[in-house]
């Protein structure tokens, strides 16, 4: 049986992923900022077959609470073997450029806090020699672009951090999974015009579930993004800097 902690549990992608674990009869511990949403999710996941669902209301940037949150999850589920980090913030790029507080908040939420959480979980899992740490990064982290490099660089750092951690934990039998979704139709992207490249949170969740429970190191979702990003990464910088991306 899986015992999964989900940070950012009320995001559309995390919720759909949680349902797949619930259907499998697993134990879940949810963390998000809004209690009303956590309550709705808890009854939903129990109804869908979860063996137990518990939650805590917290913001991931409350660093001093991290250890206590892991303890609470551990008590609720009798240990844990999966950590899924699913929160993130996608602010307007221009706002980040004009306001240092927004810039730092974006970097802290998307990267610094996630790195701290991964490190706490890594310590536990390294000792128990078992577990999966999955983190939702983004294709936006594969190359900095003028339209969203603040968000992109935080996700880039997150991917690098996960890569190093994967390398370190390999010998302990702990897996680290980097999820790189492309465009996903969620409340976070409600303001965007949607085209053919957009995927539903349900599709992404199926990919995440498979990567966590079966295999995968760096997983692009849907898979065609691996090819798109490969092409984007190979464009020489002297050309790339001229593009209006």
């Amino acid at each position: 049986m899986n015992k999964i902690i989900i940070f950012g549990a009320s995001s559309a992608i995390a919720e759909q992923t949680a349902r797949l674990f619930a259907r499998n009869g697993d134990r879940l511990f949810l963390i998000a900022r809004q209690e009303a949403q956590l309550q709705i999710m808890a009854s939903d996941l129990k109804g869908r077959g979860a063996e137990s669902v518990d939650y805590a209301v917290a913001d991931a940037t409350e660093y001093e609470r991290h250890e206590a949150l892991f303890d609470a999850a551990s008590t609720s589920m009798d240990g844990f073997n999966i950590l899924l980090i699913a929160y993130g913030t996608l602010p307007n790029q221009t706002d980040c450029q004009n306001d240092t507080a927004t810039l730092l908040h974006t970097l802290n939420t998307n990267f610094t806090s996630a790195a701290a959480l991964m490190e706490r979980a890594a310590g536990h899992m390294e000792k128990q020699k078992e577990g999966v740490i999955a983190v939702i990064s983004s294709v936006a982290g594969d190359r900095g672009r003028q339209s969203n490099y603040v968000y992109g660089s935080a996700k880039s750092a997150l991917s690098s951090y996960a890569s190093g951690l994967r390398n370190r934990l390999f010998k302990s039998g702990v897996r680290v999974v980097t999820i790189k979704p492309g465009f996903v139709d969620t409340p976070m992207t409600a303001e965007f015009d949607k085209g053919a490249l957009w995927a539903s949170p349900k599709t992404i969740a199926e990919g995440i579930y498979k990567a966590i429970t079966v295999k995968g190191d760096i997983v692009y979702l849907p898979g065609f993004w691996r090819l798109i990003m490969m092409i984007i990464r190979t464009i020489p910088e002297f050309i790339f800097k001229r593009l209006g991306l």
């Binding site: 559309a12 009303a36 949403q37 709705i40 999710m41 009854s43 939903d44 129990k46 109804g47 869908r48 077959g49 409340p187 409600a190």
Partner: protein
Amino acid sequence: MAHENINSWGRHFHYRHHVQQPHWRHQINLDSQHGSVLPYGNGRSYGDSCLNDAHTLIRTTDLDHILELDLEQGTLHCESGVLLSDILDLIVPHGWFLSVTPGTRFITLGGAIANDVHGKNHHRNGTFGNHVLQMELLRSDKPIQTLTPDDDSGLFNATVGGLGLTGLILSAKIKLQAIHNPWMQTETIRFHNLSEFFDLSHESDQPFEYTVSWIDCLAKGEQLGKGLFIRSNHASADTRNGPIKPAKSHTMPLTPPVSMVNSISLRLFNKLYYARQKQDRKLSLNHYEPYFYPLDGLHHWNRMYGPKGFVQHQCQLPNEHCADSTAELLKQIAHSGQGSFLAVLKMFGDIPSPGLMSFPRPGATLALDFPWQGSRTTKLLNALDDVVREAGGRLYPAKDSRMSMENFHHFYPQAKQFQAFIDPAFSSSFWRRVNP
């Protein structure tokens, strides 16, 4: 908030809407900046009853949380945007089934209630609304209310079959029925004319939970109303080795430039369908999915009617006139040459529908699909309406795209009483079309 071109299942109307898609039931905003609001589920209503041209639609498909599944009592309490397909996936493995299901599982719970849908077991279980134990209703003019069937304000009965106009159903609790396994024991019988249909229906309603028939509506004369009668029960506890769930569904990938349903394809289809079994009676054991939802296996099947879309005509005909009137309807259709691909005939039972505006009542119900061909279609359907009206029957708003204002009020004289229950912030294209 986004502007979207949202269609209903008939793909006949092309309306622009302001769309809200709330994810949490405590975050729904009925105070639209863009005219009236209307809840929109999975868009399987055929006509304009789920549309709100130039106004706001509140898409409910993300309001899909379970509140409680009680496997002892067989009750399910969940939000209104949950699809019946998701409910079935959840409950069938535990030995429960929907008490009533329509011919598609891709509708929301809220839509099932708001249209008070029926199925092949109407003669046994009545309508979907007969199995609603409780619902939470969000209105613009009152706090959230919990309604039960014994509610004496009338709002429960107005909301069941209320076309989404009495407020937004946040959640509902429904009673499930127990089953032993996912299989259906089915008997398919060929009948050669309408009177054989009525005889079969009469003898089958007692021993069979589900009855329905398909009619070849191109047949004329002696053969008028020939077709296949399908009657079945949930398989018994000792059934073993039934078929597994079909693995793959298909998708109609694009809309052809003209309707694929025409007089040639219809003639061919009807011939093949009628002759698909060699013997007059055939027994089979089916998985419930292809049995109840044969068309759900082809996603976007509505595209085959081409860019102009199609319209449905589903009527109810009271018992005393149903033999003559059904014959008259079939004669007019056969005569027009505009056959329907799917002509479905079924006898409703006498369990009263709970909704003030519910469609089902005792008698026969005939459902027909027609590719939209402008005035030619209008002329035929108006003639069919006259037969229905003459017989004292009525049409089904969830399927309708074109009934006249006058006919609507003749069919549903209770609409005046219903008006008092409509939320002042709510409206629909259908409602504006049939009301002055």
